[in-house]
Amino acid sequence: MATAYLLLAPATVLLLGMLAYPLGWEVWISFTDFSPLNDHGPRFVGLENYRHLLADAEFWRAVVVTVGFAAATTLAKLALGVAFALLLARPFRGRTLVFLAIFLPWAYPASVSVIGWYWTLSPPIPTAYSPFMGTLKYTVDGALGGGAWAFLSVTLFNIWRGSSFIGVFLLAGINAVPPELFECALLESRSAWRRFWLVTVPLLRPFLALAVFLSLTTAFADLANVWLLTAGRVVFPVVGTQAYWLAIKGGQFGPASALSLMLVPFLLAVLALLFRAFDPPAEARA
């Protein structure tokens, strides 16, 4: 057993040091009035920061935007991903090429493609395509309010990249299901639509659940990427970025920590639901 713990040590130490400890610190700070602007150290204020947040209309706007963004992108990514996986599931001529094309958006490093996407969709320079993009931007912003186009372009980027990951992931899932099961289904029902909902979806359920969860976690990263890229010029109040702003610009570490932690219970609830969906089969077999 000592070997087991020894082998677990590197991964555990990394996760504890770079995730759990900062998280714990953040939880503690969220109960204090800590700020580099004060000359005293952190002072315990209980739930004060949280109470303020819940009474803040701006916070609720951020929550709505965050949850809406996460839900919309996840649904779109799932729909496209399932479509990609089903398209690739059967052999046909040129399948390798189409597979590679679908794999590309995920394989293309998002750290730089987000820069490219962002500047292509909102070009600040006199390129040949900027008049067109500019018109598009002002039309959307005019209809939906300032910053809408930037937000939309991040949404599109996240869907573009995420659907690629989910498509390839679900393709692996389809390959893991014994083909006989699909063949039986073919005999049972002639309607492709019914087969999809009654056979394919239940069989892929654990993989769909995993894909949803992984896609949720990247949705936030993409938002933050663009937000940082534009040095916070692009305004869309999302929980994570609002908190960062509050901490860095306002020096209010306490409220900022409380604000960022508000995301965690939401994601934990999703994870708990998903564990129910994808764990039982493995445990039953073990």
């Binding site: 057993m1 070997t3 087991a4 082998l7 677990l8 590197p10 991964a11 040091g17 770079m18 995730l19 759990a20 400890y21 900062p22 998280l23 953040e26 700070i29 398209l87 046909f92 679908i102 794999f103 590309l104 958006p105 995920w106 394989a107 293309y108 490093p109 998002a110 750290s111 730089v112 820069i115 490219g116 996407w117 500047w119 292509t120 600040p124 320079i125 006199p126 390129t127 040949a128 573009w160 990249r161 690629s164 390839v168 390959n175 893991a176 654990p206 993989f207 992984l214 976690t217 990247t218 990427n225 940082l228 890229l229 994570g240 960062y244 920590s257 960022s260 994870l271 564990f275 445990e283």
Partner: protein, 290 residues
């Protein structure tokens, strides 16, 4: 299967075409821009390039202080692109290696040795994904300052593995857990040590899953932009993504696009070479019970 009517086949082909164009077009667009001269960028057709040139790529590698043949040179900064490239290679390679080493060790312990409560341990590792790194900047900075690693690329070697580890441990341990025990046991009976049995037998058998974990790690690490740009401040410590983001896009748009391509092409090629292995590895892990 009975032959499908022509309209079904045409529909299928049409869908494939739409999917391919949707996936590839943005990448194609970025690639085309990087091959343009400034003149063509402004006056040409945005979708094609008529006089492809590599001068944007060449310019990236020009040494500091050397004169450039562009007007308005006074306004434009020089970029140590070569240093960024070196940093990126070292950090990406190192992070993937650390992720795989720590991941394989942990997964072997959880899947094979199964200490008490291993299932909860594995869940806890996976559950760390509920904490987006976006919300950890401020406390992470405290840790980094305490470690004395402020503005030091080593930070990324510590942070990046935590982004990919949970998933890698999950798939690797699912795979290890369900490999038949006899495989290792026969080697142990013949007097091999546990380490030798692992190295000679289990590891080679896990090749596809290792590839899947490695590609996932590379993809995840290569997609990070915020951690690099928040924690690496001085120019000579930055990776390509962090550095490109500091470029003045209004003046150096073509240069930035060339940089994007230069960073992306090797990563994409690596992923493409292992793409089939990636799917096979994921499938193997899923068959063994995700």
């Amino acid at each position: 299967m009975n032959p499908r009517p022509w309209w079904r086949r045409a529909g299928h082909a049409g869908l494939l075409l739409v999917a391919t164009v949707y996936c590839v077009f943005p990448i194609y667009f970025m690639f085309v821009q990087s091959l343009k001269t400034a003149q063509e960028d402004v006056f040409g057709n945005p979708f094609i390039v008529t006089n492809p040139t590599l001068e944007n790529f060449e310019e990236l590698f020009e040494r500091k202080g050397q004169p450039r043949n562009f007007v308005g040179r006074a306004l434009r900064r020089d970029y140590p692109f070569f240093v960024w490239l070196e940093n990126t290679i070292v950090i990406f390679g190192g992070s993937v290696a650390i992720t795989l080493a720590a991941g394989v060790a942990a997964a072997y312990a959880l899947g094979r040795l199964q200490p008490p409560g291993f299932r909860w341990w594995r869940r806890a590792i996976f559950a760390t994904y509920v904490v987006p790194h976006t919300i950890l900047f401020v406390p992470l900075y405290q840790v980094i300052i305490r470690l004395g690693l402020d503005d030091n690329p080593v930070v990324l070697l510590l942070v990046y593995p935590t982004m990919a580890l949970p998933f890698c441990v999950w798939i690797l341990s699912a795979y290890f857990q369900n490999l038949p025990r006899e495989i290792e046991e026969s080697a142990l009976v013949e007097g091999a040590s546990r380490a030798a049995a692992f190295y000679r037998i289990v590891l080679p058998m896990s090749r596809p899953v290792l590839i899947a974990a490695g590609i996932f790690a590379l993809g995840t690490i290569a997609s990070d932009f915020m951690i690099a740009s928040v924690f690496l401040l001085s120019e000579h410590n930055q990776t390509i993504p962090a550095g490109l983001a500091t470029m003045e896009v209004a003046l150096d748009e073509l240069l930035a696009v060339a940089g994007i391509n230069l960073m992306a092409i090797p990563v994409v090629l690596l992923c493409a070479v292992f793409a089939r292995g990636y799917v096979r590895g994921l499938t193997a892990a899923m068959i063994e019970g995700a």
